[in-house]
Homo-oligomer: 291 residues x 2
């Protein structure tokens, strides 16, 4: 069967459109997950599902898991029938089609939108050779009531990503206090003296699925301790290794950290990636190589 | 001619739908204006247009004013032909239909979406008799790069508005420092010793059109001084008058301010509204009474 990517399923209907009164379109009133699909399944689905369900609860969106699972299963079956081995599956849930105004209408049915995009091979150049990253000028605002979720209010990320073109793979973003929080589509880990460090996301940032996999599965497997806390730029510059992660590309080692606000602009070189490479090997237990 | 409200025009096409790949739907990547239409025109259009254009510039959205004006004129002509005297016209501009990812694609055409809803009469009960308002638990995050704009990232307002049902007309929202910023769909003014006070919106909040009309037109006409600065709850409780404003309903006098976090919950009663009433009279020069 031939199946062209990208395609979109809206409430179970292929290539359907969205109402202009959908609250996702009107207010960014919804949540999403971007997942790596591999050979018939989404390997980290348990964590994606967990974040989707808990975010829906926090935002009072009456997500119906059985409706969602029916639609997702049907999309995964399509990919499987078409012998597509790797893809990026984006699942978006909005509060649904409502009237004008912020007030949440009663009895709204959420909109379920599943889009499928082509995936880069896991063993990309960034994965194998590492990346250079920059420091963004754009800051992330702090708000405990929105922190951690992958919600649809993403203007800060768009403004951060608009600061550069292709010269860097990613940009690190700070909160108002100048603590590093994450990168635009990735979470951030430092390695120092064989211990892992990653920013605390209580007030700001997206609690990523690969981050959680590292915290709960991979680090314990490798007997690595992880400290979750405030992370300064100075600390990162003094680290032994630095890496980025997300649930689509896995883990990217960082080679150089560039801060255009300073002279010299290159503020840190990371020559070794030994623990990062070990973690990459563990990730491959989830995301088998598809080249 | 018979014309049913609400109706929506998307890129000039009546009742058209939105692509699920529209960045407004994906990320809240856009801006909007909610305007009061009266007898063939939008009386405060100059300020609406100004905020739309400057917000588009700040967000790097290549808004094409002549495209927008053609579509808006056609919608206003429809309303005029149907002899509709009052309506709420919502103009939404998104970055357009892009691929996956925060990066802004090259050569994107914005999406222009104009929706028309029925309007309450200007001389509503809230306008004539005043309103009771509450203090929201939800805080507004601060970010200079987004402050002032009416952008499509509105989850904070939705969570604030979800705190109550019908028992209050509006809820006041604070920033993280506990300064009052605005209400969920309104700006806030206090009157003390015949002087006006309104919160500074440099870091947070929407710089409303009626607020600007008051600052630049109505207050000078009435020889009133306005101080724009930090506004504490204590200060508001000590004020002589309090009122809310927006470009759809005009000005609502506040009768009682309720803070459920304290006992007693009623923290301020405003018995007189004399300057507020004068300002309402001035507003009616713009929004003629349509009952």
């Amino acid at each position: 069967m031939s199946l062209k990517l990208p395609f979109v399923s809206v409430n179970g209907v292929l290539d359907a459109a969205i109402s202009p009164l959908d609250r996702g379109f009107a207010y960014g009133d919804g949540i999403f997950e971007t997942c790596r699909y591999h050979a018939g399944e989404i390997p980290l689905w348990f964590f994606h599902r967990d974040r989707l369900v808990s975010s829906a609860q926090r935002l009072q969106i009456p997500l119906n898991e059985s409706v969602l699972m029916t639609q997702l299963t049907s999309v995964l079956n399509l990919l499987h029938s078409a012998a597509i081995m790797a893809a990026v599956v984006k699942i978006q849930v909005t509060r649904g089609v409502g009237g004008r105004g912020y007030r949440i209408p009663l009895d709204l049915e959420p909109t379920y939108c599943i889009s499928v995009f082509p995936a880069e091979p896991l063993h990309s150049s960034n994965y194998l050779n590492g990346v250079d990253v920059r420091i963004c000028e754009q800051r992330l605002s702090t708000n405990k009531s929105l922190a951690g979720m992958k919600h649809l209010n993403r203007l800060e990320q768009i403004l951060a990503r608009a600061e550069w073109q292709d010269e860097y793979a990613e940009g690190l973003v700070m909160d108002d206090s100048g603590n590093l929080i994450e990168a635009t589509v990735s979470n951030l880990f430092a390695v120092k003296n064989k211990q892992l460090y990653t920013p605390d996301l209580t007030f700001c940032g997206v609690a990523g699925i690969m981050r959680r996999t590292i915290l709960e599965n991979l680090a314990p497997q490798l007997a690595l301790n992880v400290e979750v806390g405030a992370m300064s730029l100075d600390f990162v510059c003094s680290a032994d290794e630095l890496f980025l992660c997300n649930s689509v590309y896995g883990i990217w080692p960082v080679n150089r950290l560039v801060d255009q606000r300073t002279a010299p602009a290159i503020v840190a070189n990371f020559a070794q990636h030994s623990l990062t490479r070990k973690l990459q090997n563990s990730v491959e237990q989830f995301f088998l190589r598809v080249d």
